[in-house]
Assembly symmetry: C2
Homo-oligomer: 403 residues x 2
């Protein structure tokens, strides 16, 4: 057996792809199944307050560098800064990639004025579920709230620092953005009104996780980072953090694993459009399960992203489980018009039934009864184009089986 | 101050109303605010196996008695056997009724062959989310699974005993029911094929709670017990058990509190149409909050059913929050055609925003950010006509406020 290696991928303009997955990206590194890899990630909201989230951080500065003549990293289609891809040696379509999240740590603020702290941004944007449905005027307003996180991770809660309402921002190329429709715009703090003391004394429980994690899909190129897919991506389940394991169907040779959209905390639904978007570093163990070895194992016939935590399993349902093929040639725009929680619930039901029948050898009648009396269905997100419902089943329900 | 009294309501054909709430029912008892009341409840599915859930139990036998010439209790409109109503002295529209659930215990099987056990039935019915969407044939099948619960409550899990597929059943009046569309039909066990050994070795965690609990609505009479409403009713949140407190807007004089639809366990969504339907007895403390005393308290302006547990608050969103008025004269039939989780999510968002703004004194911008990063939205049920989404917020988020 080969020795286990531990790779390190620092984040920089050379190691990210912004806004998309692509089957044709050259891998940063090729790893063996079983290797460890530590990957730095950056939140695409860092320029909401560059003093707190970019300045003095060479990796962030290289990614966010944007002058009148040069933007170091071009964003394409979607929103999220993804670090990668990492190729897994020998991976091919039909295999399963297991990703064990061994550690997740906040990226400390590099500004010496804020030592020991980390910061994140929550953007209540025009794509949020609340947008236009408010009691206060103007109903169509966008709001950014900056949160402080303890970079030493001793404190398990975050607190708000200030918020502001979005005002038109002119980017370094001279384009004015009336809406915050372009992640990475450097917010000019001379043009905004900061409200300090917001959410006073409120402690937001910390749930560090990666909103986007997954492998490159084969069906189109490039593919927006926003809608989640059977290959993972922007699932936005806050349980995809330290101690969790994800299983993804491999769609292209090498799998092409990427990770981004780091969150310090999020609630189920991600209602306003974002979480506490906060740069994080993760350490992952990547294990390849070859198609030929799957029959007879719980991973046989797995055709959706599966999450395992110490106590539970989760299947992820989407409005359109394979939207790139479900919605035809216009899939990447159509998905933003067609989603519903009802459809995602339908998909989550089918996937939980499949999980119980295939991994626990239940009949369909048994699976349907069990999921009615013992599985919990939650709303993962309603803001990523392809909306999500997850179904949860506890492992201790099956004391004599696979644990 | 008056002495606290403890009332006891045994379940019988004289103390239940089956399938509906009604503003014109005579109360069984009138209690003072602060009184305790212990209430026995029966599951409407008990006749799925009368040997296990009816026989030898005088209360159940009186409720389920049905011969060729006499049915002791007429079901109306809906499904659930409700015990009550209990009037609260001085209650009037605009008040809030607080219901603290002090204890919940299973109703022991009265058949001496099964001492120490209790039983429940899970019915996967034609109103279930799965119905018609199955991988096995026939796609339109109904299945009942009988579960055993430990009546001494020492064991915190239930296990399946057997299941069977529904076959046409002829009721004592001679009507044949091809579908299980009439709760209370005595199933003739000579006509069914029991499958023993189903869900072998599986332990379903126990979550005893009341599916239906609430006060009578003013807007119509009678009102089906199936769709939940702003006055509570069939909310089907499995957290409405021991240690929980519910707050209901009072709609009619006396409030007219009733409880039924007891469940030994249920998952969020109640996917197949029912839980483990299992007779239970609850002890409640009823506290009346008069309208005039509400201003300045967290209950001011509460216009929806609110759940408080030791660690969390829950608001309950519905597809139509006041469906009897939202949907006009045909509301009681229209509600079964119009529900969606998307609408219930919309309502849950508005209610959680209201809760945070009114009870925690947040601005709307603060409330929207906080619920995005710290509130979890789950699917309560998709089988009760008026579908439900609940939103959860943890109390320890507000360390310096109301605990």
């Amino acid at each position: 057996m080969a020795e286990q290696r531990h790779h390190y991928i620092a984040v920089s303009d050379k190691t990210v792809h912004w806004g998309y997955f692509s089957r044709s990206l050259a891998p940063l590194v090729e790893v063996e199944s079983g290797d460890l890899v530590t990957i730095e990630t950056l939140t695409h909201q860092a320029n909401d307050d560059a003093e707190l989230m970019v300045r003095g951080d060479p990796g962030a500065e290289s990614v966010f560098h944007w002058s009148a003549t040069k933007k170091n990293v071009d964003r394409r289609i979607g929103a999220h800064i993804c670090t990668g891809p990492v190729a897994i040696k020998g991976a091919a379509p039909g295999d399963i990639l297991e990703v064990r999240i061994l550690d997740v740590t906040p990226r400390p603020c590099a500004n010496p004025l804020h030592q020991g702290k980390a910061f994140g941004s929550n953007a209540a944007g025009s794509w949020g579920f609340h947008y236009g449905d408010t009691v206060e005027e103007p109903k169509e307003r966008e709001v950014i709230t900056i949160y402080e996180v303890d970079a030493t991770a001793e404190r398990n809660w975050a607190r708000a620092v200030y918020n502001f309402r979005w005002t038109p921002q002119t980017d370094p190329f001279g384009v004015t953005h009336a809406l915050m429709n372009y992640p990475g715009i450097p917010v000019d703090h001379a043009t905004i009104k900061k409200n300090h003391g917001v959410l006073k004394d409120i402690r937001v429980p910390i749930r560090p996780h990666f909103g986007v994690m997954g492998v490159a899909p084969a069906e189109a190129d490039p593919v927006s980072s926003v809608p989640p897919n059977y290959t993972g991506g922007n699932i936005d389940n806050w349980r995809i953090g330290k101690g969790a394991t994800m299983y993804y169907p491999v769609s292209v040779d090498g799998a092409l694993f990427s990770v981004g959209d780091p969150h310090a905390s999020q609630g189920d639904a991600e209602l306003c459009g974002t979480a506490i978007e906060c740069s994080l570093t993760g350490t992952f163990k990547l294990v390849l399960h070859k198609k030929a070895d799957l029959p007879g194992t719980p991973l046989a016939d797995l055709h959706y992203p599966l999450l395992e935590t110490p106590d539970e399993w989760f299947v992820h349902g989407f409005s359109y489980p394979r939207y790139l093929t479900d919605l035809g040639a216009d899939a990447q725009s159509a998905i933003f018009e067609k989603s519903s929680i009802d459809l995602a619930m339908r998909d989550a039901y089918r996937k939980m039934r499949h999980f119980l029948m295939t991994t626990q050898n239940l009949t369909e009648d048994e699976a349907i009864s069990l999921m009615s009396v013992a599985a919990d269905f939650g709303i993962t997100q309603v803001v990523d184009g392809n909306w999500g419902v997850h179904a949860i089943i506890k492992k201790n329900i099956f004391p004599s089986r696979r644990g």
